[in-house]
Amino acid sequence: MRTESRFLIGVGAFFGVIAISYWFTAYEDGGTMMLVGVTALGFLPGSYYYFWHRRFRGYKYFFWGRTERVVGTRPEDRSDATIEDGAGVVSSFPGSSVWPFILGSGAFALLLSFVFGLWLAMVGGSLILTSLVGVTAESRRGGHH
């Protein structure tokens, strides 16, 4: 987690510097706002990953709240990890699912309705709603394997 957090915090830090220097050289609103947005895009997930990095090292919060329970780093973060260290559930992956296709078709029809008339929005909207229900139910039920 440490490299991940450093990577994203680095994004935030770089664009923070650029945003400040751009504002004080160009005095231009639009570009500054976008650069501030990029700064947040780096810092928000970056601090989340830093939080987990510290949690793995035994701190309940970023720098304080030391707990007895040290989780240790993940096997993919350890240079000496063996394949056996990763044994167990990797993750849960869905089998085949038709709902991404339905959802994509719905989005297609919905955006097409802005060009060809709102009747298409009914088609698109119902496809999107159906697929949202379907994909949620599939996640609860288990779907096709």
């Binding site: 699912s97 038709v98 994909v135």
Partner: protein, 638 residues
């Protein structure tokens, strides 16, 4: 849901469970390899379509007052050529296609982090592509305001019509597709790496895709927002970019009722310049993956390449207004400086690429040649980019064919040369069969000659003042001969891609089995079968460097000195040209004990002559002419 469980020493692959078949199987798939291949096939088809549009442009420009197509059609052609190539080919081919297929394999993951989101990305991309092409079928024709859609030209006053609206909406769809893919790539790389695959052991291709994904997340939301505002301007009466009809009763312009057309350029290029690197960085990664394999060396300067990639990406987000020097509304020194700075990390990359090849035992296979073509083409494009970064020079050549030649050399160099180099490189992994090396070389040399013949004259004609996006030009300025040369080059490029179709047909009709690792390559994806099974890996090797497959196949010459390699009991020494006597086909024999891999070992021994004396990476193109009918993966080439 399938809980993918990794028991000790055995990874997660399995026979694909029974489910829908035929067309439904494709529609309902969540397998990153099927989705990646769908992306690749779709984007390459769109590449051919956009290439045909470019041929129409070049034919029109043979004569000063060409009558091949009307001016209106010419506008549609160059707009759609640029839009398809940039939005629908170059990006999706890299981050939707090859990255989707290769990145989970390279980090040792069973699939992408969010497989259904991945499928949705593809359907949005396909829908967006169809929507953009639908423009040719509606009254008024396809979008004709250029791929940049500058306001106020793109407002409803100057370009009304459904084709333009379809273009806007298509980009909203593909924009979301790209954002979802970016999220998916970041999630996969952060959470699904194999044990021991630390961040600084990831292949450079994966690193570049991570950086690209961050760039996507920076750039594409801005484009989507800008497009929604453009659509509101076109139809809902807002005046965000609109500069007409906002006068006071006295006729004097009213600043508060007026939009700003330069705002579009700011928003668009805040997307557009990172987009250039979204299109380039994946291809840098492909080159960095391919060059060491065919130089028979580890990559030179691994960490330097990673940090150079980050530096390029970071700087690229601070240079958007160098496309707007001539608007007179931007801070020239800031953007000029930032732009010139990009040359530094790019130069570092070139240094590393040359260092990788330096004193290597270079094997001139097709993927290597394509990467070499990339180096030369991208270098020329980069050098002219430095010229354009200087505002006084940019004022002179802005909106001329000089700029056209510059960005074609950059983007053609990366997306086409490196991209199809990657295609030739990974095709055996995807289909389990080789592409013919001789035909690949014919493809390369036709493309190489055609590339330089097409774009070098455009520099000259641009310096002599020919503007871009014109369907006719004065006859007495000496531009015609250069244009004819350029058109001849374009036909050579078209011929080269006809050769690629022949090559695909040959591979489909006369399959040559590839084996697991035909190039004796380094990274993890070459450890599994070709094509990989569902959820990718039966076994994983120990990961102790960024070259796990190489270390596994060459136990006496592990990646000593490569960053992250720590061998407690490593035997010093390297197998040089004389070889250290590995059994040929070291990829398979003995190590994959078990019935599941016995057939793989046989398949591999044909193609992967890992340790043979000459240091050749297998007899890849012509493995003994054994011509096994129906290699693994019986389905044909696209």
């Amino acid at each position: 849901m399938t809980d993918v469980i990794a028991p000790p020493a055995v990874a997660h692959a399995h026979e694909e469970e029974h489910g829908p078949s035929g067309l439904m199987k494709w529609i309902t798939t969540t397998d990153h390899k099927v989705i990646g291949l769908s992306y690749i096939i779709t984007s390459v088809v769109l590449f051919y379509i956009a290439g045909l549009l470019a041929m129409g442009i070049r034919v029109q420009l043979i004569t000063p007052s060409g009558t091949f197509i009307s001016f209106q059609q010419f506008n549609e052609l160059f707009s759609m050529h640029g839009s398809i190539m940039l939005y629908l080919f170059a990006g999706p081919f890299a981050f939707g296609g090859l990255a989707n297929y290769i990145v989970p394999l390279q980090v040792g993951a069973p699939d992408m982090a969010f497989p259904r989101l991945n499928a949705l990305s593809y359907w949005l991309y396909l829908g967006g592509s169809i929507m953009m092409l639908m423009g040719f079928a509606v009254a008024g024709g396809a979008a004709n305001f250029g791929w940049v859609a500058y306001a106020p030209l793109s407002t409803s006053t100057y370009t009304p019509g459904a084709g333009q609206d379809l273009w806007v909406m298509a980009l909203v769809l593909t924009g979301f597709s790209a954002i979802f893919t970016g999220v998916n790539l970041v999630g996969t790389i952060f959470y699904l790496r194999a044990p021991g695959m630390t961040m600084f052991r990831m292949p450079i291709f994966t690193w570049n895709m991570l950086v690209t994904a961050i760039l996507i997340l920076i750039a594409f939301p801005v484009l989507t927002a800008a497009l929604v505002m453009l659509f509101a301007d076109r139809h809902f009466g807002t005046k965000i970019y609109e500069v007409v009809g906002c006068h006071m009763a006295s006729g004097a312009p009213d600043a508060h009722a007026c939009g700003s057309s330069v705002l579009w350029q700011n928003l668009f290029w805040f997307f557009g310049h990172p987009e250039v690197y979204i299109l380039a960085l994946p291809y840098f990664g492909m080159v960095t993956t391919i060059l060491p394999v065919f130089s028979r060396k580890p990559v030179f300067g691994y960490k330097t390449l990673v940090f150079a990639t980050m530096a390029i990406a970071a700087l690229s987000t601070g240079v958007w207004a160098h496309h707007m020097f001539t608007t007179g509304t931007v801070l020239l020194p800031f953007f000029s400086l930032m732009t010139l700075l990009i040359a530094v990390p790019t130069g570092i990359k070139f240094f590393n690429w040359i260092g990788t090849m330096w004193r290597g035992q270079i094997v001139y296979k097709t993927p290597f040649l394509f990467c070499f073509g990339f180096l030369l083409g991208f270098l020329m494009g980069g050098v002219t980019g430095v010229i354009l970064a200087a505002p006084p020079l940019d004022f002179f050549v802005h909106t001329t064919y000089f700029v056209v030649a510059h960005f074609h050399q950059v983007l053609f160099g990366s997306a086409v040369f490196a991209g199809f180099g990657g295609f030739y490189f990974w095709f055996p992994k995807m289909f389990g069969r080789m592409l013919n090396d001789r035909l690949g070389k014919v493809h390369f040399w036709l493309l190489f000659v055609g590339f330089w013949l097409t774009f070098m004259p455009q520099y000259i004609v641009g310096l002599r003042g020919m503007p871009r996006r014109v369907a006719s030009y004065p006859a007495d300025l000496g531009w015609q001969s250069w244009n004819i040369a350029s058109t001849i080059g374009a036909f050579l490029i078209a011929a080269s891609f006809a050769v690629m179709l022949v090559n695909l047909w040959v591979s489909w009709r006369y399959p040559v089995s590839a084996g697991d690792n035909p190039w004796d390559a380094h990274t993890l994806e070459w450890f599994t079968t070709s094509p990989p099974p569902h959820h990718n890996y039966m076994h994983l090797p120990m990961i102790r460097s960024e070259r796990p497959t190489w270390d596994y196949n060459h136990p006496t010459s592990p990646s000593i000195g490569v960053h992250g390699a720590r061998y407690a009991t490593a035997t010093p020494g390297r197998d040089g040209p004389s070889g250290n006597g590995h059994p040929p086909g070291g990829n398979g024999s003995g190590v994959h004990a078990g019935e599941a891999s016995a057939s793989r070992a046989e398949g591999a021994s044909g193609g992967s002559g890992g340790g043979d004396a000459g240091g050749q990476p297998g007899a890849a193109g012509e493995p003994g002419g054994s011509g096994e009918p129906g290699g693994p993966g019986g389905e044909g080439a696209p």
